[in-house]
């Protein structure tokens, strides 16, 4: 086995370990907020390590280029997706994402279990058009 192969194997083992530990964390944690912390290593760290392993194994080829292109999409999109997920979880729980808003827990997943009433601009009760 060449040095490239050994380095690639070590990187693959590291990526597999990261994914296994993070997956166990997703199973063990209590709610979506805590679970989302364990998605980041799976969505960002492990793909980088896998792409490095592919690069070490096959060098700068078309294969590794496509891997790094896919990795670019994943690394850029992952934090945005995590943010949107947390935002959705907070809106479902509190009724609003802003700090201090929705303290009564008026969201669908909050203590009252009912979704908040959404105000439609210009179509509130008793308000007439024109």
């Amino acid at each position: 086995m060449t040095a490239h192969g050994i380095v690639a194997d070590v990187l693959l083992g590291l990526a597999a370990a990261v994914v296994l530990v993070s997956s166990a964390g997703i199973l063990i944690m209590r709610d979506a907020y805590q679970r989302l912390h364990y998605v980041a290593p799976i969505a960002v760290v492990a793909p980088v390590i896998v792409a490095l392993a592919v690069l070490v194994q096959s060098g700068w080829t078309e294969n590794s280029g496509e891997t790094w292109l896919a990795l670019l999409f994943v690394v850029i999109g992952g934090p945005f997706l995590a943010h949107a997920t947390i935002r959705a979880a907070r809106i479902r729980e509190k009724g609003d994402w802003r700090p201090g808003a929705g303290q009564s827990g008026a969201g669908r997943d909050g203590p009252q279990g009912r979704p908040p009433e959404r105000k439609q601009p210009g179509h509130a009760a008793g308000e007439r058009d024109g």
């Binding site: 693959l12 994914v19 709610d31 998605v39 896998v50 990795l71 994943v74």
Partner: protein, 83 residues
């Protein structure tokens, strides 16, 4: 069977706990676990393409990476507003 294929199998096994969360957790827990499974499948596709030396199959993870972001946003947007 080389190390890339073995790593792909190990990562597929790591998707099992996420599947348990999808089945047994709340809706938001399931979405979080779905995002993790999507990323795992992305890596599995890369590893299998490299492990079996099939250059054409490296396009699959590229497409999945783009769709992963879009589908995740659609899911959380629906959960945030309507579901």
């Amino acid at each position: 069977m080389n190390s890339f294929v073995i790593a792909a199998i190990v990562m597929l096994l790591a998707a099992v706990p996420c599947g348990i969360v999808v089945v047994r957790g709340t809706t938001m827990d399931a979405v979080v676990a779905y995002e993790a499974v999507s990323s795992i499948v992305f890596m599995v596709l890369v590893l299998l393409a490299e492990g079996f030396r099939r250059s054409g199959e490296f396009e699959l993870p590229v497409h999945l990476a783009v769709l992963l972001f879009g589908s995740g946003l659609v899911f959380v947007r629906f959960l945030e507003r309507w579901l």
